[in-house]
């Protein structure tokens, strides 16, 4: 078997096409890395500048009523995660800043894609782009004629007459196709790791995550290798083998994900933004508005509060009722938002499930999702970030409303809050989920990849015995 692998590899090295293709890919990787590092640095720098500046603006705002400060608001910025250098995921399509103000839960605004031309829809050259789209092509280029060349040169009968074990032959061909790509991939990941560990201001980089990513991609390549060699066994000529492998590749990486988009859209449609907003407005109207003391809900709250404290009028309460009502109103509104955003997230989860369910047609899909998740550039991560920002917004509202409640005298006009107090508001922090969490969320994807790995491989072994 060793001889088979060595012979194939020797042939490969002598083949000009492999050299040219590898050189082109390495050049592309180089471009992707250099420009990527450049952008990464710039974005990280901008992120930390913006964060500091915004905090400074918050702390040094002029003295004002706490509720006005709540409207003045502040921003939550999404940090750049280390592995976003490797896989941009959906970051281009999600904004990275959320305005946090009173009464409203805002969406992350200003996605990069909405500032770009439609050229961006062709995709962006990143390390992941080369790895997930182009590396499989190298495998096909190496392996499409693994068997067909033996058929065409009539050397297959020779091989058989030399009593080469068919399974060993298959494994040898498989390894010879897989090893070069494994080597290239290892090179890419080690370089990425070295670059990331030497960059300054990198957030949340771990070699462990990178290794898992490496492992994920090699699994994908193993799947593609198996399929390519298998197709080569089945095909009568190299041309047919090549075309069939390429059709499979197009089906995996383009057609299936795109068809999934249309399925997801028609089975789990998103509401339009205005529909979403009007549903929220409708629900909000049913409950407490912190500004409106005359509504039914406000009167109800008043009665309950008076009862709780055993007093007859709000002026007898041990705190400022206006602040208390404002906070209760905020809490009610937050519930409304939470309800509707959860519905929205459920739709997104269902849509993503539609994609993942098509994993049985394409191993590309589970790999794509897993890669984004590990790199912290997925939709899932973005949802966690928006949830964290919302939790922080509520914390901020409480901080401000309770200042009214505890410090403003009843009926006092012109009460203000100053810089010393603004400084006391805790800072927004966001930590991404742990790798173990991410992996356990991706169980289905991992299962599909495992199936893709095992089933065709069994097919390969069985077919090898038959030919």
């Amino acid at each position: 078997m060793k001889n088979i692998v060595l012979k194939e590899l020797k042939e490969l090295i002598r083949d000009g096409r492999f050299k040219i293709a590898s050189i082109i890919l390495l050049v592309l990787l180089l471009i992707a890395t250099v420009t990527g590092v450049n952008q990464y640095k710039k974005n990280t720098e901008q992120y930390s500048i913006s964060k500091t500046k915004e905090r400074n603006i918050w702390e040094t705002q002029s003295e004002k009523n706490p509720h006005s400060a709540a409207h003045y608001g502040t921003y939550a910025f999404k940090p750049q995660f280390a592995l976003s250098l490797f896989d941009y995921g959906v970051t281009q399509y999600t904004g990275s800043s959320i305005f946090l103000e009173a009464h409203n839960r805002n969406e992350a605004s200003f996605s990069e894609a909405s500032d770009q031309t439609s050229l961006a829809r062709f995709g962006t050259l990143s390390i992941n782009f080369v790895l997930i789209y182009l590396f499989p092509l190298i495998i096909i280029l190496i392996g499409y004629n693994a068997y067909t060349k033996e058929f065409e040169l009539k050397t297959f009968t020779l091989l058989k007459s030399q009593s080469v074990h068919p399974v060993k032959l298959a494994l040898g061909k498989w390894l010879a196709t897989f090893l070069p790509i494994l080597l290239l991939t290892a090179l890419v990941f080690i370089t990425t790791g070295i670059i990331l560990s030497n960059l300054q201001g990198v957030a949340f980089f771990s070699w462990m995550s990178l290794s898992v990513l490496f492992f994920t991609y090699t699994l994908y390549y193993a799947v593609i290798t198996t399929l390519t060699v298998l197709i080569s066994m089945w095909s009568k000529s190299s041309g047919v083998s090549l075309v069939s492998s390429l059709v499979i590749w197009v089906l995996f990486s383009f057609i299936t994900p795109k068809i999934a988009t249309n399925f997801a859209n028609s089975n789990h449609p998103y509401p339009s933004k205005s529909e979403f907003a009007s549903r929220i407005a409708e629900d909000k109207q049913k409950g407490l508005d912190g500004h409106n003391p005359w509504s039914k809900a406000a009167k109800q709250l008043e009665i309950e509060t008076l009862k709780e404290y055993g007093v007859d009028s709000i002026s007898q309460l041990p705190f400022n009722y206006a602040g208390y009502r404002m906070q209760k109103g905020e809490e009610f509104e937050a519930q409304v938002y939470d309800k509707h955003y959860s519905i929205l997230n459920d739709i997104a989860v269902n849509q993503n499930q539609t994609y993942k369910n098509l994993s049985f047609i394409s191993p590309f899909v589970p790999i794509r999702f897993l890669s984004m998740d590990i790199a912290n550039t997925s939709n899932n991560l973005h949802w966690k970030f928006t949830q964290a920002a919302e939790a922080y917004r509520l914390e901020k509202q409480k901080f401000l409303n309770y200042d009214i409640k505890d410090n403003m005298k009843v009926g006092e006009r012109g009460y203000t809050m100053g810089a010393d107090k603004f400084k006391k508001l805790p800072k927004f922090k966001f930590t991404p989920p742990l790798l173990s969490e991410i992996l356990s969320e991706n169980r289905q994807n991992i299962l599909f990849i495992a199936l893709w790995l095992v089933l065709p491989f069994i097919g390969l072994i069985m077919t090898s015995k038959k030919i």
């Binding site: 959906v90 961006a120 004629n145």
Partner: protein, 476 residues
């Protein structure tokens, strides 16, 4: 000789299964893509109907209440809900600015999955910095849609490649090339005739299938004669490009499997690698101005002008203008101050946003000059343009909405300052938004560019072989 060649070609094609496979795959892919595109447009129309209905519902309340007021009654409602106040109408009953899909929008999703198609600019607030993004799962944007544009740009070339990659090399490999050489026709003319026949077949097939699928899913599109002609021409030019590529590869390499690899390589390069690389290098060299930086700058301006605004108006009321005093006299002053304080902010932030916009446009313009490097990019732009889903269309829509918001404000604010009430008569004379597709359809230009590129390639790379009538090197 041409008629012989034609006859032979037709016989060959009808007897081989290739033509059938090709026909079936083009038909299925086009039908499915058209169906999907239509579905997306239907969703867009459906969303529009929903918001329109909602507006009608609100409007009927408005009309009813106005009738009550005009009957001289005084319903018990707080000031900020009274619809005879122009500001209430301006804020709570804004008009809808709808961007209707074009008849051919189903062709290409373009940017339509990212942006909203309706907006309600209000009488106060930041109408020059509205958010136009639509709610969408970013994963969908990442993977994209299976629409006609995808089939035409990505898949059609692959079908052409399978149809043409071995046109000459096959003869050589079968040993019939020498026989051909003995015929009274130059090999080059024979090859060109053969390619031309296949070109006409594929182009006609594609046209017919496009027409049929439209007939099936979107009959109205057939009325768009000029756009359809544009579409057909641009498809013909794109197909031509791939035939030229096939010709060059056939005469230069002339070995079936190497031909296939070379053509796939060209496809990869033009459809995937070059666009993605341009996109990445372009945004590295000419980055879009940072939005985070812009946020910082706007916040700073707001902070600096806060005091100026405070002098004009209390910050509490500024954030809640609907809570203004009930009293007529105070109200007049209130709105006067409100607009004055808003103006302070607008005057300061607008130049910044404008600068940002100019920078962005410059960047987009620079990037778009790269489109000539790949016919796939040219094709994408042409299809987006025909569909009315390009970024230009959305930028223009934003502009139209802003223009409308100015009209809306100018219609109501004078009423306020003249202390007039909003009446039923005013309701029927309110300004209405009408989206107009003001973007020049550059499909002719794209068509000419694409054809020129193809011809240039044909003559420059193929000239040596075209002159070589005996085609000696083809036999090697």
């Amino acid at each position: 000789m041409f008629s012989n060649n034609l006859l032979y070609e037709i016989k060959l094609l009808t007897r081989s299964k290739w033509l059938l496979i090709l026909l079936v795959s083009i038909a299925m892919l086009f039908a499915f893509a058209t169906f999907n595109g239509k579905k997306n447009v239907d969703k867009r129309l459906n969303d529009i109907t929903v918001v329109k209905k909602e507006l009608q519902k609100r409007d009927s309340v408005l009309v009813e209440t106005l009738k009550v007021f005009e009957a001289g009654k005084k319903p018990d409602m707080p000031y900020w809900q009274k619809p005879n106040e122009p500001m209430t109408v301006g804020y709570q009953y804004p008009r809808l600015a709808i961007m209707k899909p074009q008849e051919l929008s189903f062709l290409a999703t373009g940017q339509s999955d990212m942006y909203t198609h309706f907006k309600s600019p209000k009488v106060y607030g930041n109408n020059f910095a509205l958010d136009y993004s639509e709610m969408v799962n970013p994963v969908q944007l990442l993977f994209g849609n299976f629409d006609l544009a995808f089939v035409i740009i990505y898949i059609l070339p692959l079908l052409i490649i399978t149809f043409t990659y071995n046109i000459l090399s096959k003869e050589k490999e079968l040993g019939t090339l020498k026989l051909l050489g003995a015929q009274p026709i130059a090999i080059m003319s024979w090859l060109l005739q053969k390619l031309a026949i296949r070109y006409v077949i594929i182009t006609l097939l594609t046209w017919i299938i496009v027409l049929l699928t439209m007939l099936l899913f979107s009959v109205n599109a057939l009325a768009q004669v000029t756009n359809l002609i544009g579409l057909f021409l641009i498809i013909a030019a794109y197909v031509l490009f791939w035939f030229v590529a096939a010709f060059i590869v056939n005469v230069k390499i002339n070995n079936s499997s190497k031909n296939a690899l070379a053509l796939i390589g060209v496809w990869l390069l033009l459809v995937m690698v070059i666009p993605a690389t341009i996109n990445q290098i372009g945004s590295a060299l000419y980055p879009t101005p940072s939005r985070l930086k812009m946020i910082n700058e706007i916040r700073l301006i707001k902070k600096e002008n806060e005091e100026k605004q405070n002098e004009i108006m209390n910050d509490y009321l500024r954030t809640h203008p609907e809570l203004a005093q009930n009293n007529d006299e105070q109200r007049f002053g209130f709105w006067h101050n409100y607009f004055a304080s808003e103006k302070v902010m607008e005057e300061k932030t607008k130049p910044l946003l404008n600068d940002y916009d100019i920078q962005l446009k410059k960047q987009q313009h620079l990037i778009s000059t790269f489109k000539y490097i790949s016919p796939a990019i040219l094709m994408q732009q042409a299809l987006n343009n025909i569909s009315g889903t390009s970024e230009k269309h959305y930028n223009d829509y934003k502009k139209q909405v802003f223009e409308f918001s100015v009209r809306w404000r100018n219609y109501l604010v004078p009423m306020l300052f003249k202390n007039e009430k909003f009446t039923l008569e005013d309701y029927s004379s309110m300004p209405q938004f009408n989206y107009e597709n003001r973007i020049k359809n550059e499909v002719w230009f794209n068509f000419i560019a694409l054809t020129l590129i193809s011809l240039l390639l044909f003559f420059v790379l193929g000239s040596k072989h075209l002159k070589d009538k005996s085609a000696k090197n083809l036999f090697l």
